[in-house]
């Protein structure tokens, strides 16, 4: 992004497109005010009409009170809040927010860490107008080793045309939202579904300010681990490959033992009954591993047909005005 770009953004006419910004909020009371004000400033300067949807994932702190307070200071019915019934994690919560949004374009903010200039939003939006249904904003440097490992494994074993990486926010067209919803009933991991939706995707990198990185609490860390293993199972074939490989290896091994038993019957002097007993065992185990391989294949097919994840549960929806 260049200075020229930024200047162009600030002087142009207001956009006619309706945009929604969906923001995930979980125990973020210190960040909310600053973040919402910045986003609102950019949106109100650039769009004739927009909405901001705050998805409050059952925060235990004063997040909701802070949102309400800010909502009152912003004129018009710009801010909506979706209150989740209980903590459900960023993926389900964001799905709820996106389902509620009515914009032609929707900004998704998975967190309120603003390690970029607020104007980057408009750069990303402009990029989508050039023909990309999904445009991601990704930091150049990613701090977390675990994240990097996850993406390395994921990208190695998924058949996705777009490799995944750490992203901070993105903009989606209504067409992209409709597409991913018609592709699968539930969306357990948005990034992976977006990457596979078949529409044009672009990623914009920015120099991030690493001092803003936010630590996760215990619950969120657990949720992220679960999410990571679920996604690897759902969207990549790594688990399927490993288990099938194991089954086949055991099959081959038992088969080898069978051969050895027959060979030793002929060449060596074995105790009577040993050979027949071994053959029965080998035959039985071989059968078990064949059945296992078939079952694994079946399971992976079933999983591809239906994602068994539940949809979200919401508690209330409110519109805040002055």
């Amino acid at each position: 992004m260049t200075r020229q770009q930024e200047k162009k953004v600030t002087v142009r006419d207001k956009e006619k497109n309706f945009v929604s910004a969906v923001i995930y909020i979980y125990n973020d009371e210190e960040r909310i005010r600053d973040f919402l004000e910045k986003i609102n400033a950019v949106l109100s300067a650039n769009f004739e009409s927009y909405q901001i949807i705050c998805v409050n994932d059952a925060s235990d702190d004063n997040s909701l009170a802070v949102i309400r307070e800010i909502g009152k200071s912003i004129s018009g019915t710009v801010i909506n809040v979706v209150n989740m019934s209980f903590y459900q994690g960023v993926e389900l919560a964001m799905n709820a927010g996106i389902d509620l949004s009515i914009g032609d374009f929707v900004f998704e903010f998975d967190n309120m860490v603003m390690d970029y200039e607020a104007e980057l939003m408009m750069y990303v939006y402009d990029r989508s107008l050039t023909g990309f249904d999904i445009v991601n904003a990704a930091p150049k440097k990613c701090g977390r080793k675990t994240s990097r490992l996850f993406y390395a494994v994921f990208n190695r074993y998924s058949r996705s045309p777009h490799p995944l990486r750490t992203e901070n926010f993105r903009v989606l067209s209504r067409r992209a939202i409709n597409r991913v919803h018609s592709m699968s009933k539930t969306i357990p991991y948005r990034k992976a579904v977006y990457a596979n939706c078949g529409l044009k995707i672009d990623t914009i990198e920015y120099d991030n300010d690493r001092s803003c990185t936010k630590g996760y609490d215990k619950e969120t860390r657990y949720q992220r681990k679960e999410m990571a293993s679920d996604s690897l199972i759902l969207f990549t074939n790594v688990a399927y490959k490993m288990t099938l490989l194991a089954a086949v290896f055991m099959m081959v091994a038992t088969f080898g033992i069978g051969i050895y038993t027959l060979v030793s019957y002929v060449t060596e002097d074995v105790v009577s009954g040993y050979t027949s007993m071994m053959l029965v065992i080998v035959f039985g185990f071989f059968g078990v591993f064949v059945i296992l391989a078939v079952i694994i294949k079946y399971l992976s097919m079933l999983m591809e047909l239906v994602f068994s994840k539940q949809k979200y549960t919401i508690e209330s929806v409110e519109t805040i005005s002055e």
Binding site: T77, D99, L100, N178, S182, S321
Partner: protein
Amino acid sequence: MTKNKSKWDKIIIGAGLYGLYAAKLCGERGERVLVLEWEKSPFQRATYINQARVHMGYHYPRSYATAIKSAHYFNRFIKDYDFCIHSAFDQVYATSDSFSWTNREQFVQFCQAAEIPCDELMPDKYFKKGLCDGAYLTKEYTYDAGILGQFFVDALVGMKNVEINYGVRLQQIDKGPDSYVLTLESGAVLETGFLLNATYGSTNQILSLAGYEPFKIKYELCEIILCQPQDKLREVGITVMDGPFFSVMPFGKTGYHSLTSVTFTPHVSSFDSLPKFNCQAKSWGYCSPEQLGNCNDCVAKPQSAWPYMSNMAKKYLKAEYGFSYEGSLYSMKPILKASEVDDSRPTVVRKVSEKPTFVSVLSGKINTVYDLDEVLKND
């Protein structure tokens, strides 16, 4: 104006449907009735500014009581006032796939239980793919407030014992030993043994003027958008439920459609007993918690939520069911606090005093006007 200190059998405050219905009913029995109205003509507020829906009950899938009562009065209303009913359109209800408090099976079950007709349609006919899980052709009509108001005015003009005063500024309500004495700003003094408070948004203002306990309500300043339907939408009304959705349906016989949405129709709310809003300070004294002005004539009326409501409709509806903006109507809506969970809309008829009698009526629906019969009978 009336002579100083005139006596009436009944005085009715508010010339909306409930007020004029009561006036006609009592006038036909030969009683001397006076209707007091703040506006310059009847039917200027809630009776006119709403979705103009003659409810059959579909709206209340979480309140069987409201639904069954609506259905019960539906037939009576369309028979009595058939001249103002517009019924030649397909009224489609749909349940949203996400965020709805009621899903497809539950809605069908509810219609069966409430014994109201409901034929299932293909949602894809009207809605974009995946947004609605069920769509139903229902039996529900719309009434034309202009025609209905004219009917009542014509009927009452012919009655020598009934009078309607417009532009009335009520100053004081005093309770005497066997009558209420009303003092107007004009100096006129009116006396009656039976006072009916048939106002809607101002109901607590009248109650507090008379010194009675107010209804427990919250207020919402609501916007109804009038729009010009495109060809395919002209003979279709669409309501997406049950949650933060929208409705676009014919507005009486005007040729327009009304567009409303649960999220964006209410602009600002007030949780005070008397309606207190920030915009009142900017109204140059036109509107106050003690006396609501008419939002449509107010300089401080809110900006239209058209971009929001139209975008929500656009998200759901197929492109061929389009419409364009014509204008906005604003009105004050009181909502009983108790009805938030089940979304019921009971008619509350409250008799706060007997001999002299003071009755307050509060109802959000047009076809439950018959609830008044009971209270007007025994006097």
